[in-house]
């Protein structure tokens, strides 16, 4: 039951991703959609780390940036082909995550938040100051467009379908990890490290795994981002972006795959809608953030879920006597997304 419901969700998601560009008038919006896909990719990884395993990272923009700059350097400076730059970028993100994972993830709560925040800031300062390699604050120009197996992704629509395809694949991978012993172990760590260990879960290994995995997601997004814009600047990878990513996770709904997607798409496109307010946009952005957290504490998906549950209760207002609510199998498994 649950399995088929999940396959259905993935199929619907694929359909939505495929149909989205058809509903949009021009390339400008396609570009926003591409950014949405990149952000959703990072947020999905961050959600595995934060929402499922309960480990905060306030420096995730660093992994996004490390991969972007690496592939920029490999392809534009060293002149190697793009198919070498992309894996190199992802590998650097993963390697750095792997190196800092063990000492960092020993920390708890606010100390972990601080350490990841500090890491993110250090990396972003390096992006700004290592001018020889990164081009400094004015950015890195002249990154080649993506070309894979002889196919050049020149049109924005082609690039969108690539980004959407990668996002869909990442969703599938996340789903399958969550619904396995690894996913259960991660969720267990979130609630009680003591109990998880007592069940034989090697928590240090699992934390490192999910940390590196989330860095890989961010790395994939980073390389695709660099070869899409053909230009990167440090301001895209700073503390503000890390905070935005966390906001997307929480606003979408912690520990919810669809929440990560919803949060990323919503907050990435929101500034576009707020453009009509001109200078007021940042105000409204801040106010909406506060309001969402105050009135929808479990995020967009949680809020919608509550609404759906409420509707369902209204519609099935007269249950058969003697049957306790929630006794139907699979009810919870589906609602968690």
């Amino acid at each position: 039951m649950a399995v088929s419901a999940r396959s259905l969700q993935l199929a619907v998601f694929a359909g939505l991703l495929a149909a989205a560009p058809l509903a949009l008038p021009n390339d400008y919006y396609i570009n926003i959609l591409i950014l949405c896909c990149f952000n959703a990719l990072i947020v999905m990884g961050l959600n595995l780390l934060m929402g499922y395993a309960g480990q905060v990272s306030l420096g995730h923009a660093a992994f996004f940036g490390l991969a972007a700059y690496t592939t920029a350097f490999v392809t534009a400076t060293a002149g190697l082909p793009v198919w070498a730059g992309v894996p190199a970028g992802i590998a650097v993100s993963a390697l750095v995550a792997w190196l800092i994972a063990v000492p960092t993830l020993k920390l708890q709560g606010n100390y972990l938040a601080m350490a990841t925040l500090g890491f993110g800031i250090i990396v972003s300062i390096v992006f700004n100051e290592a001018v020889n390699i990164t081009g400094g604050p004015s950015g890195f120009v002249g990154i080649p467009r993506l070309k894979l197996l002889g196919y050049a992704f020149t049109s924005d629509t082609a690039y969108y379908y690539l980004a959407a395809g990668v996002l869909w694949l990442a969703t599938l991978v996340s789903r399958r990890i969550i619904d396995s012993r690894t996913g259960r172990a991660l969720r267990a760590i979130h609630v009680s490290e003591q109990a998880a260990q007592a069940m034989g879960v090697d928590i240090a290994r699992h934390k490192r795994f999910v940390f590196v995995l989330s860095a890989v997601y961010a790395g994939v997004a980073g390389t695709l981002y660099a070869h899409h814009l053909t230009f990167v600047a440090p301001s895209s990878f700073g503390f503000n972006f890390s905070v935005q990513l966390i906001t997307m996770v929480v606003l979408g709904g912690m520990a919810s795959l669809w929440g990560a997607v919803a949060g990323a798409f919503f907050l990435t496109s929101l500034p576009e809608f707020l453009r009509v307010f001109e200078e007021m946009d940042i105000l409204i952005y801040g106010a909406m953030l506060v309001a969402c957290m105050m009135f929808m504490p479990s995020g967009l998906v949680g809020g919608l879920g509550k609404l759906a549950a409420w509707l369902k209760r209204k519609l099935t207002a007269n249950p058969t006597p003697g049957q306790k609510p929630g006794q139907k199998p699979g009810l919870k498994a589906d609602s968690r997304g």
Binding site: D179, S180, R187, V191, A196, A198, M199, G200, Q327
Partner: protein, 258 residues
């Protein structure tokens, strides 16, 4: 007769300090396979600390912990779980973000015979093993009488059932030795009686050795084969329930207190 049973757990000369407080001093504890061994003592006597030393959550200053002859000292908690020591928690540590069944399946973590790659590719081995694990875990839930609640969110269970869920989750690890930390706390009389029956069946049907830390004296005297009494971090007495009840020192220090 009992002396013929092989030694399952041997704790020798364990001492623990927390800051300036001496929590345990030179404590020995022996549990034989097929025995229910209880540890009792007034509040703050060091019972939970002793369980922590056995499962690896607390690092002692000195002494050793052996299971089936193998030295566990210094090994991390998860390795001890794999070696066969599992505990439940005095303050419930239910995975509140999962269903009842998922909780127990997390207990079966070590017995899911597939790799990450299997789960990514959804190989036949993954499907087979998840199915087998789910069936196994339903059995464990059935064992404690919670099979009908398998798909409820674990956080929705009443308190007493959460305690049973902890036990089901622990036996899903298929340990050699189960450490129960005040499993009857917060249970009513009827639930405690059922618990006693479950503890006996854990020993009898599952052949798991049990170390029980418990305040409910009726339960302890009822199910225990051997009892160790702790007082101020030291061993006050050791013996059968009969011997302990007749021990004037114990009566003075502990039982008389009630």
């Amino acid at each position: 007769m009992a002396e013929l049973l092989p030694e399952l757990l041997a704790v020798r000369g364990v001492s623990v300090r927390f800051g300036g407080v001496q929590a345990l001093t030179e404590v020995d504890l022996t549990a034989r396979a097929g025995d229910i061994t209880s540890v009792i003592g007034p509040n703050g006597a060091g019972k939970t600390t002793l369980l922590g030393v056995i499962n690896g959550a607390v690092t002692p200053l000195g002494g050793s912990v052996r299971l089936d002859g193998a030295d566990l000292s210094g090994r991390p908690i998860f390795e001890r779980a794999a070696a066969g020591v599992v505990r439940t928690f005095q303050n419930l540590e239910i995975f509140s973000n999962m269903t009842v069944l998922e909780n127990v399946m997390t207990g079966g973590h070590l017995h899911a015979g597939y790799t990450l790659l299997d789960s990514l590719l959804r190989t036949p081995r993954f499907r087979r093993e998840e199915k087998r694990l789910a069936a196994l875990c339903r059995e464990k839930l059935d064992f404690v009488g919670l099979a009908h609640k398998a798909h409820l969110p674990a956080a929705d269970l009443p308190y007493g059932e959460q305690r049973l869920l902890e036990i089901a989750r622990a036996i899903a690890v298929e340990p050699k030795l189960l450490l129960l930390d005040e499993p009857a706390a917060g249970m009513n009389n009827k639930e405690t009686q059922q618990l006693g029956a479950i503890i006996r069946r854990i020993r009898g049907e599952l052949s798991i050795g049990v170390v029980l830390v418990e305040h409910d004296m009726e339960l302890v005297m009822d199910v225990s084969d051997r009892i160790t009494v702790l007082n101020f971090g030291r061993i006050l007495a050791e013996g059968t329930p009969r011997e302990i009840q007749d021990n004037p020192e114990v009566v003075a220090a502990y039982l008389g207190e009630d």
